[in-house]
């Protein structure tokens, strides 16, 4: 099969090269270049570190940056903690005839636009929302309280949005866990906790890592949920980027922010892969 003409190779290769160079590599190089350009005192564009200096000099910028990073990690951890028991239940606890149905039920909400899901949470949680309505009617609250627009609801929204990307890899990796391993551990005297720590989690590591990377990346780059559910004080770094590009029209500053976010996400993903000894090309499967 290796002796067919090179013609076929170019037939396959050309569109891929065009795609990756024109739409991925060159735009990001452009982003990098733009981030090092700034106006000097005479209004001329020159090479400069000004955009990056700005970032470190303005507390609001790097504070938002750090907050976004920490909250993204928090969201990833929370999503994992919530998703693991559900994935385990579907793969190993519930009767097999129900597990397919539960799986479908699990996927359904995530076929629906993120905007619709966030909107659903808004009409549930806001001051005139459904939950407040019921709490007041039941006499638990005297008057409605605003549950939206704070860090807690923002995190709730982000966890909700990310859930699928944690559950799916976890389920696929748990499906391959031989139940006799759990039985054997139990037979050798292990309790629930030991089985979780020594058997289930080590076995699920590839799924946990790939789920965590995707969740972390999507949370870090999310704009919609923090913007709609977060409060005035829960600024997300993507909102800073948006402000620079659309509101202030300072594309150079925005590029620097964008590049910093890209570096942050690459760094944390790289660290995650290194810590757990996984490879990116393995994890995406």
């Amino acid at each position: 099969m290796k002796n067919h003409g090179r013609w076929y190779l170019f037939f396959f290769l050309t569109p891929i090269l065009l795609w990756l160079f024109l739409m991925i590599l060159l735009p990001h190089m452009d982003l990098l270049i733009m981030s090092f350009r700034a106006e000097d005192d005479f209004g001329e564009m020159v090479w400069s570190f000004a955009n990056y200096l700005n970032f470190f000099e303005e507390p609001i910028y790097w504070a938002t940056f750090a907050r976004t990073a920490l909250y993204s990690i928090l969201v990833t951890v929370l999503t994992f903690i919530i998703a693991l028991p559900v994935s385990f239940y579907i793969t190993h606890v519930v009767a097999p005839k129900f597990s397919g149905f539960l799986m479908l039920l699990l996927l359904l909400p995530f076929w629906v636009s993120e905007l619709v899901r966030v909107y659903g949470w808004m009409i549930l949680l806001r001051e005139s929302g459904v939950i407040n309505h019921f709490l007041v009617q039941m006499g638990i609250l005297d008057k409605p309280v605003e549950m939206l627009y704070n860090d807690a609801t923002m995190i709730l929204g982000l966890v909700y949005t990310s859930m699928l990307f944690m559950v799916v890899p976890l389920i696929s990796v748990l499906e391959s866990l031989d139940k006799s391993l759990i039985e054997a551990a139990y037979d050798l005297g292990a309790n629930m906790w030991t089985i979780l720590v020594r058997i289930i989690i080590p076995h699920s590591m590839p799924g946990i890592v790939s789920g965590s990377i995707v969740v972390f990346m999507l949370t870090l780059g999310n704009y919609l949920t923090p913007n709609l559910m977060g409060g005035k004080n829960s600024l997300w770094f993507t909102e800073q980027i948006y402000n620079q590009f659309i509101a202030s029209f300072n594309w150079n500053q925005g590029s620097a922010f964008g590049f910093l976010l890209l570096i942050l996400s690459s760094l944390i993903i790289w660290a995650g892969l290194k810590l757990t000894g996984q490879k990116l090309s393995k994890v995406v499967k």
Binding site: W19, P27, W111, G120, L124, V130, E183, G221, S266, S281
Partner: protein, 284 residues
């Protein structure tokens, strides 16, 4: 512990309760959104004033149902057109990519594969701004060098298509590659042995085998495009897509017409999900 082991009552009940709560958490926002689309009220909120279909069919100054709401209808059409082109381009190039990475050998293959995976780890917002920047750079270049005003390089319909295409193609490539991996290459060798050329082999044998994966990936690509927000936000011109349009209305507050649109989207995507599931079941 697991279904083949004896479990204590408390353990089973707690686990069931947890999973039930989880599913309530999962479906509560969608259910509430859908139900309030039928509430006879000016606001998407309780109390329940009775069932009505105004937010679908009414055409009065105070109540404009979705089927008469020209602005929202337009954005649905824009989204559908965008999704059509994105899924068409992404499945074509993604399938070529699958062939390239699964069946061809060339220098720097690993490096190119790594580049192909990049869109998975680049946040959508960054992808949006970098494509915006690059198209602007190209636009300026063409204008200054050749005095040409190329519409493609300005925010608008085609830029949105390109922006979404750039990351959805990665997804298609991975799905089709996964299927192509399972392909028994001796079938190709048999066809070559029987006198077919490579192109005929691909057309008659390999693509037939890949068809379910390509169709499935195409459907998911359509949905991903239809619902994309992050990348689109920076590339959109005078024709907003549905998610962008909805975002503006949700942010600024709106009538339950949004619930009506949401209901239709939930309904539509559910049907698409079931169809996709049906076909993927059938191929297995």
């Amino acid at each position: 512990m697991i279904r083949s082991l004896p479990n204590s009552k408390t353990y089973s009940i707690c686990f069931k309760l947890y999973v039930t709560l989880f599913f309530v958490f999962l479906f509560a926002p969608l259910a509430v959104t859908s139900i309030l689309a039928f509430n006879d009220s000016m606001f998407p909120a309780l109390p329940w004033n009775g069932f009505c279909l105004d937010w679908f069919f009414a055409d009065t100054p105070s109540r404009l149902g979705i089927f008469h709401d020209q602005m929202n209808l337009d954005s649905i059409l824009v989204s559908a057109q965008t999704a059509f082109f994105v899924s068409l381009f992404a499945t074509s190039v993604g399938t070529l990519g699958a062939f390239l990475f699964e069946q061809e050998e060339f220098r720097f293959k690993q490096l190119l594969y790594f580049f192909m995976l990049l869109p998975l780890v680049i946040p959508g917002v960054i992808l949006g701004i970098s494509i915006l920047l690059f198209s602007n750079t190209l636009g300026t270049f063409f204008e200054e060098s050749f005095n040409l005003d190329v519409g493609l390089f300005r925010p608008g319909f085609w830029l949105v298509v390109l922006g979404q295409f750039s990351f959805i193609t990665t997804f298609v490539t991975l799905v089709v590659s996964a299927r192509l991996k399972k392909f028994d290459r001796t079938l190709e060798e048999a066809a070559l042995n029987l006198g077919a050329n490579r192109l005929e082999v691909i057309w008659h044998i390999t693509l037939k085998f890949l068809r379910p994966a390509i169709l499935g990936a195409g459907a998911v690509a359509f949905l991903m495009s239809f619902e994309n927000f992050n990348t689109t936000l920076f590339l959109v011109g005078s024709q907003p897509t549905l998610p962008i349009n909805l975002y503006l209305q949700v942010r600024d507050g709106s009538t339950p017409v949004i619930n009506a649109i949401s209901f239709l989207m939930i309904f539509g995507t559910s049907i698409l999900a079931f169809v996709n599931l049906y076909f993927s079941k059938k191929t297995e």
